[in-house]
Amino acid sequence: MDWLILQFLNGLDKGGAYALIALGLTLVFGTLGVVNFAHGALFMIGAFCAVVFSRLVRLETVTVDPERLSPWGTPLEVRTPVVELWLGDFGTFLVQYSVPLAILLAIPVMLLIGWAMERGLIRHFYKRTHAEQILVTFGLAIVLQEIVKASFGANAIPVYAPPAVSSSLNLSASLGIGTDIFYPWWRLIYLGSALLIIGLVIAFLQFTTYGMVIRAGMEDRQTVGFLGINIQKRFTVVFGIAAVVAGVAGVLYSPIVSPNYHLGMDFLVLSFVVVVVGGMGSIPGAVLAGFLLGIVESFASMAAVTRVLPAIDQVILYVVAIIVLLTLPRGLMGRKGVMEG
């Protein structure tokens, strides 16, 4: 019983991560018709926002102490953190809660990057072939990650969840089960935030006039244009939203996987599989596919399963993708005629 609940939780948690990354990708695809290979890089930049923020609040002054020597015989550099010194308890709070607070940094940064990307580059590629879109955004992804590598190094940089939620929670009492079920606080928070963000994006598209226009633009861009609506401007906003969602997902994920510069590439293929299984351009499809693949992957990784089918955990995502695409031509919830040409 405990294994069932735990693997289900793992699946939901993974699914949340997959869905969150796939969400922005499918949004951009559905509205702008652009295949954005730099989406993973946006996720990575989000994760590095957490690194930058935690470094900012750990700002140190460096003084040279000629009395003491470093192991290689030069005068020792003494580092004193200044934020805690200046701000006292509030400084300590800043340091401890640097990851959730980094979201405040990530939102404007990602909006800016998203805006610049759409205005400067993506806009000129609406009418170009998908192959060209892939090449140019892939080039951009490489450039972005090389810049991050040049400034932060290739090694991963650890980022920590707030101490209050860095341990794990015993769920057995609340679930009424005898055996202990421990699950990390931060992963539960991550799952909750993922659901919240997905809900917000869907609500925005579903229940606001602004979102309605965007949805109309997704259906028939020309007609919306004829109605005198500046659909272009709205699409810039859509790209900004996608960038922010990817960035916030990156921030929240950073305590689980230490950010490194190629984090985006690691998630790129996977996020495309999720989007395609869900159906290109379909937001509910991406969310559904994300959770489905996450749960399937978790259960396929159990020792009892891999004993019968060795290495099934390594290929299960692709097996599911192949089965879905062969039975449902446009993925779980894809619309006809999209991306089939």
């Binding site: 405990d2 294994w3 735990l6 693997q7 939780l9 793992n10 699946g11 948690d13 993974k14 991560a17 470093s70 192991p71 290689w72 015989g73 030069t74 580092r79 590598k149 190094g153 290739a154 090694n155 991963a156 940089i157 650890p158 920590y160 969840a161 860095s166 341990s167 794990s168 055996t179 202990d180 421990f182 699950y183 990390p184 931060w186 992963r187 305590p255 689980i256 996987v257 230490s258 490194n260 190629h262 984090l263 690691d266 992957e297 978790s298 990784s301 159990m302 020792a303 891999t306 290495a311 955990d313 390594q314």
Partner: protein, 446 residues
């Protein structure tokens, strides 16, 4: 399709041109025939080839290794403070280059992959005339480049490679390894963890699913079981995984009380961080504190894992905190040059370059036949690892192995681990034909 329209005369003309082109290579190859051995240095300098990953996840370790090599070249040429050249016992190096020739070097990005490593090494051998190639951060790369160098008649001095295969099943007469291996990690670590955690433990293994992971798991299982531990479960995870939750959750209620993570690189950093997040270290199992062990530690990976490394036991080839004379000399010159202490990746690179140069000096030639002979069964000291033997039977160095422990209260990011115990080389000794393979003949012709 229509092949009849091919004009016969034109066809003849084309083939004639192609034929003339084909005859050209003899012009190039005839010159190289005159060499006594491949890439024989003729001028006043000799070129070393450094093949290290500069891009990809192992980029930082590769870059640090390259720093070690560059420092070694300076010291060999008599620049700087001489570093471990002054403490190296068994050395005949004079600090005037090697055999009177100034040492120069070329470097390239191996991406820690077999194909890219071979492409880079080929460039250094074929275009730049490198007399030897050295460096690696992964075993796949080391084994691939070692066999390439052997085919090309070049000496290969392996960098950081921990698989048993490098000097086991895939060993070559032209290849040498200073770094330790998975078997040694198991033999060195098992008595220490059994001593620290008690003899009646049940271990749960989570292992990266590739050659190195398997050999690491096997050696640690073998070594701990012979000391009374039981093995609860052995689970394989795909290489390059970032989320380990689905393999970590079953650990807690499996009846095991020790978790062994046979991972390296980012995989290790992620698996360890997440294992700690799942609260495994705060748990009790079978009435004992739950423990986590990471058999193979790299100092740079430990930095990536951050706080999760605290108190964790594992092994390392070398560490800058050692107190011996060689280590101190090396840390001094490396720290002054680059402003941070050297990693074990930099150390093994530096030492390999010195060992190769010394072998040439002792043999009186750069000819691989002489160099191999000079390195085989060479005994030395003062390079930071205590008395060391380069065993002739498999070209593996035998020396002390460090058991390291995560520092409770690190001062900075280089202070993340301490030396817990130094394990003597006798404890990790094994037969040179333990994993089969054969060294084969020495090759010295291109």
């Amino acid at each position: 399709m229509n092949f009849r329209n091919v004009d016969r005369r034109r066809f003849l003309k084309t083939t004639a041109i192609a034929g003339a082109g084909l005859a050209m290579p003899t012009i190039f190859t005839s010159a190289s025939r005159a060499q006594e051995f491949c890439n024989m240095p003729t001028g006043g300098s000799v070129t070393f080839g450094f093949s290290v990953p500069l891009s990809g996840p192992y980029g930082d370790e590769g870059a640090d290794q390259l720093r070690g090599y560059e420092l070694a070249v300076q010291h060999l040429n008599g620049e700087g403070d001489g570093g471990m050249l002054n403490t190296f016992k068994g050395s005949v190096l004079k600090g005037n280059g090697v055999l009177g020739k100034k040492v120069e070097f070329v470097s390239g990005d191996s991406q820690a992959l077999a194909d890219a490593g071979r492409a880079t090494s080929n460039r250094m051998i074929e275009r730049d005339g490198a007399i030897m190639v050295t460096g690696s951060v992964s075993s796949a790369e080391a084994i691939a480049v070692q066999s390439l160098c052997s085919d090309k008649g070049i000496i290969y001095m392996a960098g950081l490679t921990h698989s048993n295969d490098t000097t086991g099943k895939d060993k070559r007469r032209n290849g040498f390894r200073h770094f330790f291996n998975a078997y040694m990690s198991g033999q060195a670590l098992a008595p220490v963890i059994v001593d620290a955690y008690g003899a009646d433990r049940r271990a749960y293994h989570i292992t990266a699913d590739y050659n190195w992971g398997w050999s690491q798991e096997e050696s640690i299982v073998e070594a701990t079981e012979s000391l009374g531990w039981e093995t609860a479960e052995r689970v394989l995870t795909p290489l390059g995984t970032s989320d380990y939750s689905q393999w970590l959750t079953p650990v807690a209620n499996s009846g095991a009380d020790v978790l062994v993570l046979n991972h390296y690189g980012n995989d290790m950093a992620n698996a360890l961080t997440q294992a700690v997040q799942f609260g495994l270290r705060e748990r009790q199992a079978n009435g004992k504190n739950f423990e986590i062990v990471v058999p193979m530690f790299s100092d740079l990976n430990a930095q990536a894992a951050g706080d999760a490394v605290k108190d964790i036991l594992g092994t390392a080839n070398w560490m800058w905190k050692l107190e011996d004379e060689g280590t101190q000399a090396f840390v001094r010159s490396f720290g002054q040059a680059y402003g941070h202490p050297p990693s074990q990746s930099a150390h093994t690179g530096y030492v390999q370059a010195l060992l190769y140069a010394n072998a040439c000096e002792r043999a009186g030639t750069f000819n691989p036949e002489g160099v191999v002979e000079a390195l085989e069964d060479f005994e030395f000291d003062g390079l930071g690892d205590g008395p060391t033997l380069y065993r002739g039977g498999d070209h593996q160095c035998f020396k002390q192995v460090l058991v390291v422990k995560g520092n409770e209260d690190p001062e900075d990011r280089f202070d993340i681990q301490d030396v817990f115990q130094v394990v003597d080389s006798e404890q990790i000794l094994y037969e040179d034909d333990k994993w089969g393979g054969e060294l084969g003949p020495i090759r010295s012709q291109c």
